[in-house]
Amino acid sequence: MSKNNTGNSPSRRAFMRGAAAAGAGALSVGAAKAQTADPLITEIQPWAQELGDGVDAVRYGLPIEYESDVVRRNVEWLTADNISSINFTPIHALDGTITPQGCAFERHHSGAIDLKKDDYRLMINGLVDTPLVLSYADLERFPRENHVYFCECAANTGMEWAGAQLNGAQFTHGMIHNMEYTGVSLRTLLEEAGLDMAGDLKDKWVFVEGADASSNGRSIPMEKALDDVLVAFKANGEALRKEHGYPVRLVVPGWEGNMWVKWIRRIEVMDGPVESREETSKYTDTLENGVSRKWTWAMDAKSVVTSPSPQAPIKHGKGPLVITGLAWTGRGAITRVDVSKDGGKTWETARLAKPGEKMALTRFYLDTDWDGSEMMLQSRAMDDTGYVQPTKAQLREVRGLNSIYHNNCIQTWLVRSNGEAENVEVS
């Protein structure tokens, strides 16, 4: 690769194509033989000869330019503007379970605001013994906890209710991320303000709101508030990103993402739910008879094959193939994931990269030998309550066609013999 040969992508692509064809034509046993020596090996390459970048070339690193397609994407026709809008995590291109903050999906109701730590205030009021105002520095002096949790928007896969619409795991299942949070438990903060005033806690609620213009107020039953809710200020070891609520957000494990109030500024102990816009107009589920479910907080068990998938086709022809995906449940831990290659007629149990963890993403793999024939790939998650991820038909049977949220159906990718994949529905 000489320097003046910068427009080398066509020849490189041709080379890759050749390699794929060679792979496909080769015997399925043992490694293929090369025709000619590979210049990448036989010739000294510039990177092996010259020097690379010094330290500090980039003070805070982004992925190398060749990964520039692994980014959040949005679907413009979904929303009127891109401020009250949503984009999607490129789950088709990620592996493991931790989502890097820089490509973790965003959902704002009034845009991502700029709030300095110095300007940050958290108020705890309502039925508490002492209403408090805490600064960011105060928060850092409470005992801290670390937990990995997934955050899934209740509308994830929502565009697929009526039929297969979007062609890519990023678009169908990308309203999810999974991070390690550091923060203070909400219980600790409520106890600091004192709950004696609240009396019997059984029928009490907390109302939480953000500092942005949407405020995104949500009511959370006291039982959950005292159980595992976290007031978090770090994710994956570093400060939260602006778009995820810098400097402080709420983490509500296993429950719909809308409750994970960003830029959280106020927590009020109350004797009833507020029934705010986000818990009436939105985030409620209309059934076939026109009656709607409210307070559908928990995210049920769900999984998706992330590769192969429409944005991650098989490029290597038949032979060894890694089928991989993600599974999660808001009601405990994933215990098993099955994969079907024939649209649900037969199933094989996949390998979990690690035992399922509570309210966190679980990575699964099915290491297989692909014969090059068409596949209808599906995955089916089970959790420790014994719940089995339903098919779309099963969901529709109970809920009808008019729901938006909480679509946790089994997803099908039609993988053709050329390796390309498409989002389909099967009988």
Partner: protein, 345 residues
Amino acid sequence: MSKFLKSAAVIAAISMISGPAMAEKLGLGRVALPEEIAAWDGEIQPNGIGLPIGSGDALVGEEIFADQCAACHGDFAEGIDNWPKLAGGADTLDRDDPLKTVGSYWPHLSTAFDYIKRSMPYGNAGTLSDDEVYAIVAYILYSNDLIEDDYVLSNETFLDVELPNAKGFIVDNRAEAEYAIWSGEPCMEDCKDDAKVTMRAMVLDVTPEEEKPEVVETAAPVTEAAAEVVEEVAVAAFDPALAEAGKKVFKKCKSCHQLGDGAKNRSGPILTAVVGKAAGAVDGFKYSKPMKAAAGDGLIWTAAELDAFLKKPKAYMKGTKMGFSGLKKEEDRVAIIEYLKSFGE
């Protein structure tokens, strides 16, 4: 709900395992002052708790709505394009594609007051007076044929209005309706006779295209000397590539501004031919006082003034009603100004 009713000792023991145990209060933070609580604690409950004293009717509301809301939600609250519809949809909830609005879907009127008071108008939240909110809510009710235009909505009459779908909600019943049927050992073999594709996403073709990396490479190779010339010219002449980049940045403005043929004033004025033009001069748009004052002082939207304004609108012009935090990146500002130029100078 019973988990937290365990004895304190049990809870303490459990919390030792997963995290730090709190012995007693740490005495952190400070006591919230009554006026601070009053400033932030504004939510309104379905039973009317939290409603401020005030009143308004649909006739007054119509005017405020036309002025501050109709750009997005339509003159009759029927919604424009993809912006939320606030009226209509009666009796559609059990049909295909129900239309869910304040009138057809919302269970409590308190929610409308609560939400509008805190979060609307979009881009200028929290600026409506209590009387204005009562009047707007009355107008939305009127647009939904739920009250007459002379009905005075106030903290006293508020609870008299029952929304049609007040009884349309049930508490999450997935445990009974679903979990029992979808549990247990699933089928592994011969689970169905046949599996056929019944629907394909390709048919709809609504997936966004893969964003191709900028096609700079297709341009003829430029020598260093040529590059310098190009750069120099770019200072003065219109730069289509830059304008193209600006088009992307304009997505941030689209919620409030329109450009080009058929453009209308939305919550912000039409921006056609704004570059080089006098500020505050679009017909039929109600500018803020400071914008009018600046216009009176002869402010011209030169590239430099636009750059300063767009960087931090509220810092540049205290009291402007442009509810936008600004474009921090210089490259974004340069690009958008170039894009605006493509709509006339």
